[in-house]
């Protein structure tokens, strides 16, 4: 390996490439957001991956799926395969464990990770991933985008960091009983979710930036939780007002003691 390869990111720290190469990172969902994430992680030098996606490339993905071509939509190439090609194209020695299933169907590999980046579509899916990450002591980074229409169309999105011993997505005000209930009521009637490439790119880049900071702490921010709000109309990413105005300093929803495989206890 050419020693110049990472010279332009040496500001991350003298031992940053060693730290990055030892980190096992999962990406759940390899669509519009996940394909960007995987590509950036491979460029940065991550070597150990756990990736999940059971979908194949369709024509409607080509507006945003990084690495996908017309041929892939015709051949219905698995998104998992595209992600592996991207990683191995940049990191020949990478250890990639890819699973063409829901992560819940094979959760053990996820537990070995230090970071999980969730690129999933629903609040429920986010909540389930966060619960697993808390149970097995994993930093969870969530990304998502949507297009809202009230008076005018607005592209919105979020990047959230939820770490063990810190605030969770409920504490931050992102996941609420109302949003989960509303989503459950609309189950099966979600319609077409608007997705475009550039917000996914912004959100994925922000998530990868958080991941690199978790591994290297190059910013010295010591940040264990974050909710960053993307406004695609203004092209801004700002700290959530909801989070900033919260007085919560500790998480009542998860305890560091509630970890490991669930055990049935006799009453």
């Amino acid at each position: 390996m050419n020693s110049d390869r990472y010279s332009r990111q040496s500001f991350l720290g003298a031992d940053s490439q060693d730290l990055i190469s030892k980190c096992t990172i999962a990406v759940v969902g390899l669509g519009g957001g996940g394909s960007h994430v995987v590509q950036q992680l491979a460029h940065i030098g991550f070597q150990r991956y756990v990736i999940y996606d059971y979908d194949v490339v369709e024509e409607s993905n080509l507006n945003r799926l990084v690495g996908a071509t017309l041929s892939d939509s015709l051949a219905e190439t698995p998104k998992l395969h595209l992600a592996k090609m991207t990683i191995f194209g940049l990191q020949r020695e990478a250890r990639v464990r890819g699973f063409s299933c829901k992560w819940q169907e094979n959760p053990e590999p996820l537990r070995e990770c230090q970071i999980v980046i969730g690129c999933v579509d629903s609040y429920k899916a986010r909540q389930e991933l966060e619960i697993a990450c808390r149970r097995y002591l994993i930093h969870y980074i969530d990304i998502g985008m949507d297009v809202h229409s009230k008076d005018q169309l607005v592209i919105g999105g979020q990047v959230i960091l939820s770490s063990p011993s810190s605030l969770c997505m409920k504490c931050m005000g992102f996941l609420t009983d109302e949003t989960l209930a509303r989503e459950a009521a609309q189950y099966g009637n979600a319609g077409e979710r608007p997705q475009v490439v550039w917000p996914n790119g912004v959100l994925a880049s922000t998530a990868v930036g958080l991941a690199v900071d978790l591994v290297t702490n190059w910013t010295r921010s010591d940040r264990l939780h974050a909710w960053l709000v993307y406004n695609g109309n203004e092209n801004t990413v700002k700290e959530s007002h909801t989070l900033r105005n919260r007085q919560t300093t500790s998480c009542p929803h998860f305890s560091d003691a509630d970890v490991g495989d669930p055990v049935l206890r006799e009453l």
Partner: protein, 173 residues
Amino acid sequence: MSIQFKLTGALYREIMRDLERPHRFAAERVGFVSGRMGSLSAGGKLVLVTRYHCIPDDCYIDDPDVGARVNSEAITRAMHAVYHGRSLREGIFHVHLHQHHGEPVPSKTDWREIPKIMPGFQAVGRQAAHGMILLSADHAVAWVWLPGGEPTISDSISVIGIPIRVFERKALQ
């Protein structure tokens, strides 16, 4: 079979802070941590460290032949932790710090003394993993007595904080 450990950054700092404190006469400090098991692929085990049990100053015995020797009260407290963690299959791990950098290796005294306390822990918490964790200034290694098994060395210990630390055995790198 892979055995991996994880603990939060906050807990790691708590352990290090306590073990680095000087003692009135002991050359080093020791402690215990509780650890709960999770399952990994291919029969691997994940030990999630949940809390630290500091050993009070007056539980140390003045013995210049070893870095630290603790009395029966310290062991009894550890046994209590195992007893109360039985329903959660929570085991106990002796922990101490070697004052150097790099991968720690158990001393002859470590190998002679620490395994002696394992049968007691195993008798109380039969379904839990017990063992010892050795820390250095920038590394860590664990030896694990799985239920009904011989001691096995861990593959890695991950500190889930900022920055993330993954302490791996040199042999695996």
